[in-house]
């Protein structure tokens, strides 16, 4: 195990840091060597990527706070416009520099302003000698802002002429970021996924105080055995572990088994976990409901999940409209005459063509159709006469708002609106019954 060593920081801090970030030692030491000493200029921009919950944000945050490096931490999803993002960075800078003096609201609309205000803020903080770190979490959002934001952040050191390093955290690779025009290439760094051993180690680290670490890690072992196949998300696993631990402890609390009796505990918990995988993990039932269920000791059968309520009640004509829309979407126009007219032409000729049509149409997805065709099919599938009343038309629009139909081409209503049917065959089958 590579021990963290760096001349610039006290060994005690480093040791503490190491205990906080298990299984990420190599990355941390790499980062430390890039950062160098406090007053040394670092690399202008660093790009860190890795899969969901591979500890990017956590590692950066703990690293910067434990070593007490000056930093600004911003989530790009939360500050969704460039103005908000830049202002937030400035606000964080100001607030950390002076607590006593109430900060006036900053207005920063452009990058030019930002660079100017940034220089002021840094000057007022008197940390000329230290590197300031700006961490942009979920940096993929930067691509959707103005075109100059990303390149400017990448060479902020150069633009401001201050000791600053920008760290971008993202889940996607740098190649998808690179703008067309030439820009500064950041130092890229990859955080690999945690392996099962890593997960085991991290999860068992924070065991509840009333039980021993061994007991908890045995539990984690069982949990991972069930869930590792479907889920490697650390956060999710931790959540599931917390949810189901009470159940695991039950025999111990009742005195039926002691903490060493792993086999018995396993037998008790395993079906329970499997049930959890089918329900809670998919968010079929909420975790609070799950807890309540555990508490009462009831069967989860009585609680129907979200997907159990698939049946949709529709008014009579809406049903027919939807069926007509489905037919119009999945049948080619030329078969209309054959299907919906009483005295259609020959069927024999088209019989052999039908086979390869059938296979392709559902794979190709719904095709758009004009309103007239929908109504024509509607009239032919409804037995009684239907008057084209305003109610029928308003039902079409309400089906669109319910997202059962979707409008294709947003041009004006007079121009013959075209629709698509977005529901599946199963849904139509359920309705048609």
């Amino acid at each position: 195990m590579p021990n963290l060593e760096h001349p610039a920081y006290p060994a005690a801090d480093l040791l503490h840091l190491e205990s906080l970030v298990p299984c990420r030692e190599s990355q941390v030491s790499m980062l430390l060597s890039i950062f160098g000493e406090r007053q040394q200029f670092s690399f202008p921009s660093i790009f860190i990527y890795g899969h969901t919950s591979s500890g990017k944000t956590y590692v950066m945050q703990t690293l910067l706070t434990t070593l007490q490096l000056p930093h600004v931490f911003v989530n790009c999803v939360e500050y969704f416009t460039s103005r908000l993002l830049l202002e937030e960075i400035l606000i964080q800078l100001q607030s950390s520099s002076s607590d006593t003096e109430q900060t006036c609201p900053v207005h920063c609309d452009t990058l030019n302003d930002f660079v100017r205000l940034f220089k002021q803020a840094v000057a007022s903080r008197e940390l000329q000698d230290q590197t300031l770190y700006i961490v942009l979490d979920r940096a993929e959002q930067l691509r959707e802002m103005e075109a100059n934001i990303l390149p400017a952040f990448l060479r902020l050191q150069e633009l401001t002429d201050r000791n600053v390093t920008v760290v971008l955290l993202s889940e996607i690779v740098w190649e998808l970021f690179r703008p067309n025009v030439g820009c500064f290439e950041p130092f890229t760094m990859y955080f690999p996924d945690y392996s099962i051993g890593h997960l085991q180690k991290i999860l068992s680290q924070n065991h509840p105080p009333e039980y021993s670490a061994d007991f908890y890690s045995a539990y984690i072992n069982i949990l991972l055995g069930v869930f590792y196949m479907v889920c490697r998300d650390l956060k999710e696993l931790r959540h599931l572990a917390a949810l189901n631990f009470a159940k695991y402890c039950e025999p111990v609390v009742r005195g039926e088994a002691n903490e060493r009796d792993t086999r018995k505990l396993w037998k008790n918990i395993e079906p329970h976990l499997k049930k959890a995988m089918q329900t809670v993990y998919l968010r079929e039932i909420s975790s609070s409901q799950w807890e309540r269920l555990q508490h009462d000791g009831g069967e989860p059968g009585q609680l129907k999940g979200l997907s159990a309520h698939t049946h949709v009640e529709l008014p009579y004509y809406s049903k027919f409209l939807l069926i007509a829309a489905y037919l119009a979407s999945y049948n080619p126009v030329r078969t209309d005459k054959r299907f919906f007219l009483k005295h259609h032409g020959k069927i024999r000729k088209t019989n052999f063509m039908k086979k390869h049509e059938k296979t392709s149409n559902h794979l190709l997805g719904p095709k758009p159709f004009p309103l007239d065709r929908l109504l024509a099919i509607l009239y032919s599938i409804v037995d009684s006469r239907v008057a084209p009343t305003a109610n029928i038309f308003s039902q079409i629009t309400s089906l669109v708002t319910l997202q059962l139909l979707s409008m294709v081409g947003q041009n004006d209503q007079l121009d013959g609106p075209r629709y698509k049917c977005t529901v599946s065959l199963d849904f139509i089958r359920a309705i048609a019954r």
Binding site: R283, S286, S398
Partner: protein, 656 residues
């Protein structure tokens, strides 16, 4: 006044209904906010059904109740206001900060930060605002505190309601959820999703990484059909409201509900329209009031109104049945007529009371029959009874037949239910009926006792059976047993059953007479179904077609009245152009059209003069034609086509 009264009653009914359906829901809300251990946002998925028009009222009721009981901070978001995350945040903050103003509008200095318009619309400013607000309520004067924190707790949750989940774009929702999950520790947020179709939409809209941030709990509101039944039950099947709907009208309203929109709101609107229409069109509707006022109103009738009464068909029928002396009195003496009218109206009221309770009894019977020959819901039965004599229909026959085959336990429970219904009704005539039914019940119990005795006998005989080993004897006793069972036991029970069914039948014949046969039914029943259909089920395309094809219908000009398929040249230009275009296919040649138009127009004006300039179309006619065509384009019948020059495309189909 009665209308307003009715409407209020109606809305009250609805509101109480809604609050009932949501009361359970709020208890849950309070529970979740306590259990926010994890970084999940507590979320309620409220499945409301497809009747989107009703949702507004539901949400308004919900937010009112929440405001009263749980939290002052409620934001209602609609998809059309939130095309992007920025708009959503703006809207959210606007609503939240505004409702803060509402709570303590007394303090002027609170308004200052809000009027400061350029607030940074971000979650962090929202959080700081929330902190400020909650802190303030803590430090407020005791009098104020009692006011606010007795109703809400120290840190009330912020409820964000998404009215129409389906219409929100995926990205906006995802972003919002991710952002708010970052702040869940500082800001107790509760989301409510209004879902119209099915909860599957959540999984379709949100990827797993986002939905794992939510703690979703599902709530299903009552189906709108049940909602309708309650309303019909409360409004129509009581004798409290003097106003009644005729059979056909009710059928129209229910059909619109079932076939078109499932909207209770629209049903109520239709009902209100009926009330308005009735009081507007029927001069005698003054008499349609509570029983207490009848006397006063009847005696204040003028002579003309008395004449109106005499003109009512049902009253005429009534008069014809009386002996001649009374006939003359009724037709000439106003005060005698008034007395008689009052009596008749009272009769009508009593009839309603009896009608409703007997209808319910009959429903008890028919609703449990297999295949529901008379309908599953009481409203269907009600319609059938209003329409005509229910005992003459085939369905009634078959249901009676089925009722004669009911088993005993069912029959007994039904009878008990009937007794309960009749006991609870206010009618005085039912004492005897109740007696009778109770008598039936005791008879059934006696029967049961007898049956148990008999069973003893049969058990003993079976014991005897076991002793015997002779095959012949065994067969014989078995046969005997069978015989006895079939003949003796069943006949007794069957007789009683027949009696019960016949009795019910007689009740039905006595009380469920259709309202049309009652004298003076016109006063309280609204029967103009066609008028209602015309108002509620508008057919714009048909109306347009009529207007253009047959302008006489709307313009009431004798000259325009045309016969058959001919095109009159006196009609407005647009009508001529419309009729001509009906004869064409999908693409219309403008030149041909103009030619035809000028021929029609010229035909009457100067049949012989046009020979000189037949190939040269008059400028005025040309201009008229162009105007008419552009009017048609405006109406959406044609549009310019790019496929062929000089052609326009038809947007409608079908001939005349």
């Amino acid at each position: 006044q009665i209308q307003e009264d009715l409407n209020k009653q109606l809305l009250d009914n609805l509101l109480s209904f809604l609050s009932r359906s949501h009361s359970e829901f709020q208890e849950k809300t309070t529970e979740w906010t306590c259990r926010m251990k994890f970084r999940e946002i507590p979320t309620a998925a409220l499945v409301l059904g497809v009747n989107v028009t009703d949702h507004d009222l539901t949400f308004r009721g919900l937010s009112d109740v929440l405001q009263d009981n749980i939290t002052p901070y409620i934001a209602l978001l609609e998809a059309k206001d939130c095309p992007g995350i920025k708009n959503l945040m703006q809207k959210l903050m606007g609503q939240l900060m505004h409702c803060d103003i509402d709570v303590d509008s007394l303090e002027d200095e609170d308004c200052v930060p809000v009027s400061h318009n350029r607030i940074r619309c971000s979650m962090s400013s929202l959080t700081s605002w929330y902190e400020g607000v909650t802190k303030k309520t803590d430090s407020e004067t005791p009098s104020k505190k009692r006011n606010s924190s007795s109703r809400h707790w120290q840190s009330p949750p912020v409820v964000v309601i998404f009215k129409d989940m389906e219409s929100f774009t995926t990205k906006v929702l995802q972003d919002f959820i991710v952002i708010s999950s970052q702040h869940i520790h500082e800001l107790p947020l509760v989301l409510i999703f209004g879902i119209a179709t099915s909860p599957m939409i959540i999984h379709r809209l949100l990827p797993h990484s986002v939905s794992s941030l939510l703690c979703i709990e599902l709530f299903q509101s009552l189906s709108c059909k049940e909602h309708l039944s309650t309303i019909i039950d409360k409004l129509l099947l009581t004798s409290r409201f003097p106003f009644k709907l005729g059979g056909k009208v009710l059928q129209v309203l229910i059909n619109i509900f079932l076939y078109h929109d499932f909207s209770v709101q629209n049903f109520i609107k239709g009902f209100q329209l009926c009330i308005v229409e009735h009081f507007y069109s029927q001069p005698l509707s003054v008499l349609c009031c509570q029983l207490v006022d009848v006397k006063k109103r009847v005696y204040s009738l003028s002579h003309d109104q008395c004449e109106n009464i005499r003109r009512l068909p049902s009253f005429r029928r009534y008069v014809e049945k009386q002996e001649s002396g009374k006939q003359i009195e009724l037709l000439t003496n106003d005060s005698f007529l008034k007395e008689e009218t009052e009596k008749l109206l009272k009769d009508l009221h009593v009839y309603h009371e009896n009608y409703v309770s007997i209808l319910r009894c009959l429903h008890v019977f028919t609703s449990s029959l297999p295949k529901y020959p008379l309908g599953k819901q009481i409203r269907e039965l009600h319609c059938a009874c209003l329409e005509n004599r229910v005992w003459e229909t085939e369905e009634y026959e078959s249901s009676l037949q089925l009722a004669r085959m009911l088993n005993k336990t069912d029959l007994v429970t039904m009878l008990q239910q009937c007794v309960e219904i009749l006991m609870s009704s206010s009618g005085k005539e039912f004492d005897k009926t109740v007696e009778k039914l109770k008598e039936f019940l005791t008879q059934f119990q006696n029967l049961e006792a007898e049956a148990s005795q008999e069973r003893d006998v049969s058990v003993s005989s079976q014991k005897e059976l076991q002793k015997k080993t002779d095959l012949y004897h065994l067969q014989k006793t078995l046969l005997e047993l069978k015989e006895s069972r079939r003949s003796k036991k069943l006949t007794k029970f069957e007789m009683l059953r027949f009696e019960v069914v016949d009795y019910i039948d007689s009740l039905v014949r006595k009380y469920l007479v259709p309202a049309d046969n009652r004298t003076l039914h016109e006063i309280v029943y609204f029967n103009a179904a066609t008028v209602l259909r015309g108002h509620l089920n508008a057919a714009p395309r048909t109306a347009l077609h009529t207007a253009l094809n047959n302008p006489h219908w709307y313009l009431k000009n004798q000259a325009l009245k045309c016969d058959g398929g001919g095109i009159s040249n006196k009609a407005p230009d647009i009508c001529i152009v419309y009729k001509l275009h009906l004869e064409c296919g999908r693409l219309i040649n403008l030149v041909d059209w103009l030619e035809a138009f000028s021929t029609v127009v010229m035909a009457a004006e100067e049949p012989n003069a046009d020979a000189a300039s037949s190939d040269q179309v008059d400028d005025i006619i040309h201009a008229r034609f162009i105007r008419a065509v552009s009017e048609l384009e405006l109406l959406g019948f044609i549009k310019p086509s790019k496929q062929k020059t000089d052609h326009v495309a038809r947007l409608t189909w079908g001939g005349c």
